[in-house]
């Protein structure tokens, strides 16, 4: 299983098994719903403006849930403009497979680039965050 380890990286399995940002927070400024009709992945995302706190209620595959988790870590404390840049950088990592040293743990998802149809699993939380950011404006 060495090959699969490249995709189901420890970081991913760890965050999938023990999510830290899951659940509905008491306070939030915006929320958004995302889903992938092709597979039934579903995420409900909550955004708190102060400190850019993200939490999520997710139902779906390990890639999607881990991606939501890693996203929550990565955007914490960032401005909306920075988050948008991060999203673009992340999407380039998962579509090209080329890691970006500036992205830290998000690079754990780089190898999903081999699976064109799974890239949407990794980007769904980011697309949903995009919606929430618009709502929060």
């Amino acid at each position: 299983m060495e090959a699969s380890a490249q995709i189901y990286h420890n970081v991913i399995m760890d965050r999938f098994r023990s999510p830290r940002s899951a659940g509905r927070p008491e306070n939030f400024d915006a929320e958004a719903e995302g889903n992938n009709p092709m597979c039934g992945d579903r995420i409900h995302l909550y955004f708190g403006r102060e400190g850019a706190r993200v939490s999520h209620e997710s139902e779906g595959c390990a890639i999607m849930i881990a991606s939501a988790e890693l996203m929550a870590d990565a955007v914490a404390g960032k401005t909306p403009a920075q988050i948008r840049d991060l999203r673009a950088d992340f999407e380039s990592v998962v579509t090209t497979g080329a890691e970006n040293p500036a992205l830290g743990d998000l690079n754990a998802l780089a190898n999903i680039s081999e699976y064109r149809s799974r890239i949407r699993c990794a980007t769904l939380p980011w697309a949903t965050l995009g919606l929430a950011l618009k709502e929060a404006e």
């Binding site: 299983m1 090959a3 699969s4 995709i7 189901y8 399995m13 009709p37 092709m38 597979c39 039934g40 992945d41 579903r42 139902e59 779906g60 595959c61 390990a62 890639i63 699976y115 799974r118 699993c121």
Partner: protein, 414 residues
Amino acid sequence: MSASIKLQPFDLAAIRRDFPILESQVHGRRLVFLDSAASAQKPRAVIDAMVFAMEHQYANVHRGLHWMSERTSDAYEAVRDKVAKLLNAASRDEIVFTRNGTESINLVAYTYGRAILQPGDAVVVSEMEHHANLVPWQMLRDAHGVELRIVKITDAGEVDFNSLEEQFADGRVKLLAVTHMSNVLGTYTPVERLAKFAHERGAKILLDGCQAIVHRQVDVQAIDADFYVFSGHKLYGPSGIGILYAKREILESMPPFMGGGDMISSVSYERSTWAKPPHRFEAGTPAILETIGLGAAIDYVEAIGFPAIAAHERELTEHAIAVLSEISGLRILGSAQDRGGVISFTMEGAHAHDIATLLDRQGIAVRAGHHCAEPLMGRLGVTATARASFALYTTIEEIDALAAGLIRVKQVFG
């Protein structure tokens, strides 16, 4: 190519050599292809027939007077006879060539649906239909005011005849459109009984044979089917060719679907008259090479014989159910009495997509998702399943490889 078909003994090793792609490596492992229900691989005979046409005998059909066109038309029209024989249709004129099973059903919905069915009539489909046998009827409902009703399935994944009685109770049902084999649960439906049921109540029956045709002998006259549809690419033929069978008098009552060359009798600006069936429904240059390829696929399958294919696949299916049932946390969906080699399952803690990706790393191709049957997913209380499906070239070893692969998935997700 071969006029007379000689039955071969079922020699699995020889059969596998007929399919060049089965030699492939994926991620450094020998390919284990368990996704034939989505589309089957092609035997050498199909590849050769298409290459022969392109290298030696090709021109447009029907319209030419020259040798290449006459010979290509002969080869093309010969396939209509082969399909008629495959289905035991009463006449070759009952066979319409389409792109795929989906187009066949849409053709019926657009022509029979809009010209013969009347607003207020009802069409019944089951809870286990592929979108191809649901969405065209929804579109008909929305455009034409025909009611769409859903017959329930039991927890085993079989048609619920009590529910069927209820749906038919008010006498407004004019068409029962139902699968002959579920692409998710593997269920075969009791088609003779369903046809009798529909006919006794004044309704016609359309059978979606996209899955069933691959695995067992189909006799449209014995079933008394009014419409029967399937796709060539699942029957080891090329993509781009599908079949609509309909009884002659029904086809004759139907207006054309698409307009253009070959489907007319005469054309003037004011008024065009239509060719007789089946040509009425075949506008423009058809899928000539693909039809010829389908002919070769039918010859291939018939040379092996459905009894041998069915016996082999039964063995595979029983073995698969046995070994998969031993994996704790794995749940097989559906348990119909009469079922074929399509097995959908879920695993505790692992999403279907993750299962498919982890199996793929081991060279094992299975499908994951809603299998174009979203409403059925809802009925089963899942959002997606993984699905392994078997073909005449599948081996017991491949099923064991699947089981071993799933145990590794459990280790990652355990």
